[in-house]
């Protein structure tokens, strides 16, 4: 049967992708960040997942404002890379896993999560930057990817608790799939950041540290953080962190923290990376 072996939490700041695409990774501004991701790259090269479930958010690229799904699962064979306004990132297109994705849809809906089914969409930096950070710059991504897009752009995003429960349902769904597949789930976005208005540039290291500790040790407590707390204490865009709770929920009760990295800044963002193996 298929199983979720581990979770990866990581920021998906677009400037990180641009730094790779423009060959700036060794510049003093970027070097510490990319050095900090080396252990994560080595870990995933060894873990060799067959499938990644990528929990991310679209940034007005794959979806405009005509339809705003709270949870949308990509069931296509392939997802093209979005032109976000300066040309598409020069990265390989993303191959999906339509059979497992379709199974997830059936399982999740019957488990009372009303997921939107997406058969065609482009994917933006929210999905491609985590792939770049963990897999580098290959000719083709070495893994199938099932995109799970979460609305965190228009308030309210789904609550942390709802996301945590969805993660648990994803774990059940994957475990009931017949193929012997190793699955790694990514929770992306965050950490603390605000990229709008006079308060832009906000970073809350204490909040972020507490969040990373909680993922490892007490996710139930994290799942009760209210939307206002994210917005007020960690920045308007820190609400993206609810996506990390989907990842955490999908790992089961017991996890082992394999790696952690924290760095400020990437553009306006506090960058975090955590690897948790399911035990």
């Amino acid at each position: 049967m298929a199983r979720i072996i581990a979770g990866v939490g990581t920021s998906h700041t677009p400037a990180i992708g641009a730094a790779v695409d423009l060959g700036k990774t060794r510049e003093p501004y970027w070097q510490p960040l990319f050095a900090g991701y080396e252990p994560a790259k080595a870990w995933i090269a060894k873990a060799k997942p067959d499938v990644v479930i990528m929990v991310y958010n679209d940034h007005v690229n794959g979806f405009d404002f005509k339809i705003i799904p709270t949870f949308a699962l990509g069931c296509a064979e392939e997802f093209a890379i979005a032109d976000e306004g300066w040309g598409a990132r020069p990265v390989p297109s993303v191959k999906g896993h339509p059979e497992l994705a379709s199974h997830l849809i059936q399982s999740l809906v019957l488990d009372e999560f009303d997921i939107t089914i997406v058969n065609e969409m482009v994917v933006d930096h929210g999905l491609t930057v985590p792939l770049t950070l963990l897999f580098g710059t290959p000719q083709a991504w070495p893994v199938r990817v099932i995109p799970l897009a979460v609305n965190v752009i228009q308030y309210p995003a789904p609550t942390g608790h709802r996301c945590y429960c969805l993660g648990k349902a994803i774990r059940r769904a994957v475990a009931s799939w017949h193929e012997d597949l190793k699955v790694v789930i990514f929770g992306t976005g965050g950490m603390s950041h605000q990229i709008q208005g006079p308060r832009a540039g906000l970073v809350n290291r204490e909040f972020d540290t507490d969040f990373l500790n909680g993922l490892s040790q007490d996710p139930e407590r994290l799942s009760s953080i209210q939307p206002l707390e994210y917005l007020r204490d960690a920045g308007a865009e820190a609400i993206e962190l609810v996506m990390w709770l989907i990842m955490r929920g999908a790992l089961g009760d017991k996890v082992e923290e394999i790696y952690r990295f924290y760095h400020v800044p990437a553009s306006s963002t506090a960058v975090g990376n955590i690897i948790l193996e399911s035990r």
Binding site: N61, E84, G197, A200, V203, L231, V264
Partner: protein, 136 residues
């Protein structure tokens, strides 16, 4: 006729922030669809060739249109523009997201980058309007 909703959401007390909520999204719908159109290279070109003419193709308000032409980023946030869509206007101008964010804060891009390199803006004094009082 609708009147001003007397109910205030708790997040409206966060200073220097316009949360993109359902009411703001409603008001900003056509503005954001205009911004979304700038994802296409041919639309970016058409906009830059005739900014006022291009914006008239969208059903945004005159206030929103003027804020677009003036690149008044904070006003655009207030009028229902969402930051990620506004970024497409900045990119069309050949500017970075970081440039747009610095403009929103009233800093130069250099000052903004320096603040970020020093660990970013502390939340101290920025959590509530009461905390902010007299500091700007």
């Amino acid at each position: 006729m609708t009147t001003e909703n007397p109910h205030k959401e708790a997040y409206e007390d966060i200073p220097g922030t316009w949360v993109f909520d359902a009411q703001r999204a409603r008001k900003g719908y056509h503005l954001n669809e205009f911004l979304y159109s700038l994802m296409k290279a041919e639309n970016r070109k058409a906009f830059l060739a005739d900014e006022p003419g291009y914006t008239l193709k969208f059903k945004m308000t005159e206030e929103q249109r003027q804020a677009v032409l003036a690149r008044n980023w904070n006003r655009l946030l207030e009028l229902g523009g969402v930051s990620y869509a506004l970024a497409k206007l900045a990119f069309t101008d050949g500017k970075s997201y970081q440039f747009m964010a610095s403009q929103m804060t009233g800093m130069t891009e250099k000052e903004y980058v320096e603040m970020m390199l020093k660990g970013g803006r502390s939340p101290e004094g920025w959590r509530t309007r009461a905390e902010r009082q007299g500091k700007d």
